[in-house]
């Protein structure tokens, strides 16, 4: 055999054109017994479990990325998970827990769900970011009352929240999956306005249950554990009303991640719900208010009776 490129030579076609490809070749090329440089397959699972020690942490794969070792990832998931159960207002911990738990498999599944859908693909291609400036809130306020945009703004106003409080993704290695996580995070508020669930703990847990049934992200299922930290009344409501609603709707609805919210602002929210297959749950704020009033009334009556005695 007279070959221009003896077996030990690097094949010309393997010369990487981008620094990213170079990095991959460097980490995955290993010599074999016959001297040929044979690259091991770079599939999703292998890429997420690249092995390195804390002493030679590789450079970030995208701005803001922090590569973690396996041990770091596990401890991050456990630590942030336990702490966020104790203090559900720590959005940063919930975010970190969500990222650490999303690999292997789950975030790839969500990305593949997007890649299988024409709109999901368009979102991945355009990579829109949801911020108060990109959405132009004044414009949304001018939309008809039943439109998604108006419902969303009303919800923002009612809950006193802003779309700018979302943290960037840091711990997911694949940059496209990082975007998927980012998109999920930014869509969360739209899930709220689509379902009408409030940002109080009870509403968040119900929505997380819905998200778990819909996106399968482990963090959302993990968050449902906080149902055990809720008050008795709330827990009862979760098991009787919101839990079953969440599972039924989450499973039956389309993948809600594939909604291009920016393009649906003028859409009638009921039409959108119908298209996605989501039914609105009973208004949680109403129920809570009614119960609160009831309690207050009972308390007042008790006090009155006590005074009477």
């Amino acid at each position: 055999m007279t070959s221009l490129f003896p077996r030990g030579a690097i094949r010309p076609s393997s010369i990487a054109s981008t620094p990213r490809q170079l990095a991959i070749i460097a980490t995955h090329t290993q010599p074999t017994h016959r001297g040929t440089a044979v690259a091991t397959p770079v599939d999703d699972n292998i890429q997420t479990s690249r092995r390195f020690s804390v002493l030679n942490r590789p450079p970030p794969l995208y701005p803001g990325h922090i590569p973690l070792t396996r041990l770091e990832r596990v401890s991050l998931a456990l630590g942030s998970g336990i702490l966020s159960l104790r203090n559900p207002y720590r959005a940063d911990l919930i975010a970190a827990c969500g990222e650490a738990l999303s690999v292997p498999y789950f975030i790839y599944r969500l990305r593949d769900a997007m890649l299988s859908h024409p709109v999901g693909r368009r979102i991945l291609r355009d990579r829109p970011k949801i911020t108060s400036t990109s959405l132009s809130l004044p414009h949304l306020r001018s939309l008809p009352p039943n439109s998604l945009g108006r419902t969303y703004v009303n919800w923002l106003d009612r809950e006193h929240v802003s779309p700018d409080t979302r943290l960037p993704v840091r711990f997911i290695d694949d940059e496209e999956c990082a975007y998927v996580m980012q998109r999920y995070r930014e869509s969360h508020d739209f899930y709220h306005s689509l379902t009408g669930l409030p940002t109080v703990r009870e509403g968040e847990v119900a929505l997380k249950a819905f998200e778990f049934a819909n996106t399968l992200l482990p963090m959302t299922g993990f968050a449902c554990l906080s149902v055990f930290t809720m008050k008795k009344q709330e827990r009862k409501r979760f098991w009787e009303i919101y839990g079953p609603w969440a599972v039924r709707n989450g499973v039956n609805a389309e993948e809600v991640i594939n909604v291009y919210w920016e393009e649906e602002m003028a859409t009638n929210v009921d039409v959108l719900r119908k298209r996605l297959g989501i039914e609105t749950p009973p208004d949680m704020r109403d129920i809570r208010k009614r119960e609160r009033d009831q309690r207050r009334k009972e308390k007042g009556e008790r006090e009155k009776m006590g005074m009477g005695v």
Binding site: M1, T2, S3, L4, F5, R11, P12, S13, S14, I15, A16, R20, Q21, I24, I25, H28, T29, R34, A37, V38, A39, P41, V42, D43, I46, Q47, D112, L115, S116, P118, R121, L124, R125, E175, E176
Partner: protein, 495 residues
Amino acid sequence: MRPLVSLRTPLLCHSCSRLVWRSVKGQRGYATTTTTTTASEREIYDVVCVGGGPAGLSLLTALRSNPTTSSLRIALVEAQDLSKVASWSLPQDQFSNRCSSLTPSSARFLNTIGAWSHMERSRIQAYQEMQVWDGVSGSRISFDGPSTSQDGVIAYMIENLNLQRGLLKRLSELRDGVNIFDTARVSSISHGSVLSSGHDLTSWPVVTLSSGTSLTARLLVGADGANSPVRTFADIPSRGWDYGRHGVVATLQLSDEGWGGADFKTAYQRFLPTGPIAMLPLPGPFASLVWSTIPSNAALLKSLSPVDFTSMVNAAFRLSTVDLKYMHTLSSGQTSEYSWRMEHNPHDPFPVPPPVTGVQEGTVASFPLRLRHADTYISPRVVLIGDAAHTVHPLAGQGLNAGQGDVQSLASTIEYAVSHGMDIGSMLALEKYNAERYFENHAVLGVCDKLHKLYSVGSGPVVGLRSLGLKAVSALRPVKDFLMKQASGNGFKLF
């Protein structure tokens, strides 16, 4: 009828010539009232081969080139115009889309019968490496040439037409040639009658052509493909199933010859859940594509513009199955999808084929994939070879080679029968061929079938297990070598 070479004497086999000459000369036999014409009696052959494909032509060449069997009187019936095959030629930068991979042992056989030197060698491409990987998990196995062949060749890619033309050239070179009835359709096959001479030909098959010519055969060879009329005549059932897949073929233009240049070429095959896609090297920056896929995908691929088709082929070797599934739903625009996905797909540039830059016009075609195996290859005075006997999934490139194995075995069976004075049409003589080939082909069919089924699974534990299995085979050098030898036809005789 168009004899390639004039016949020296019409009847050559000893027993045959005794029988018929006497009857023609009227030296022996009963005086009967029938006035059978001499002409129809003259159309008695030792071997009538229906089908002038690679298997049929190789058999005739093998018989003619062997001194023991060269005196048999042989006829070939073929529906195509063989003079077109004999004069076939294409420029050096164009290739037919019907290519086959010839293992070194098939090539050696063709060399033994003197046909190899008549092939246009500049259109044959040897390859020395094979990269096979799982499209779902990415686990991979690479084969290099078996240690048995000194130049490390795994197989040769050859256009079927080049092979047929080479065989025809070799046949015409041989002293006696064969009676070729081409552009002839078989209108019926029946049994013969009692001749005026009193000879009982009722067990002899008679092939009647649409032109009215009747050919009586001592041994009728069915090399007439998957829907074999000969097999139907012999009433041999053929069992199997359709895969519900189509093989899409095309001749591809590549960006370069590959990393090894002209002297070291690689064949690539990726198993996708819809079926394997294979790119097999041709001389220069060209390759032959065989893409097994579901019929709707095949229809879409055939309808795509050349640019989008090219992108789909590139995508099929590089992108995830999710992307491929989506791209199969688009009627156009695959190119832009492909270039976008490649930005986010950190694949290895190493073990995938060179990028495809174009597809040769008019070469995209498809055919249905099936598994068929005849219950037996022989019946009195009838024998089946090649696709008439067995049809295999193309994933291991074994179809043509199984046919060559049949030819080799049948030629030696006939040689044995002739040299021992046996009737070559008798079951006693043919039994050896069936015994040699049936189980060997059955094993090849079975292995290809199981591989197809194993890799049709798109997700779940099967993917993990098969990836583990592939890694194990890849790591166990002796197992890998064994498989390699079996696939190249140099292995142990298992059956």
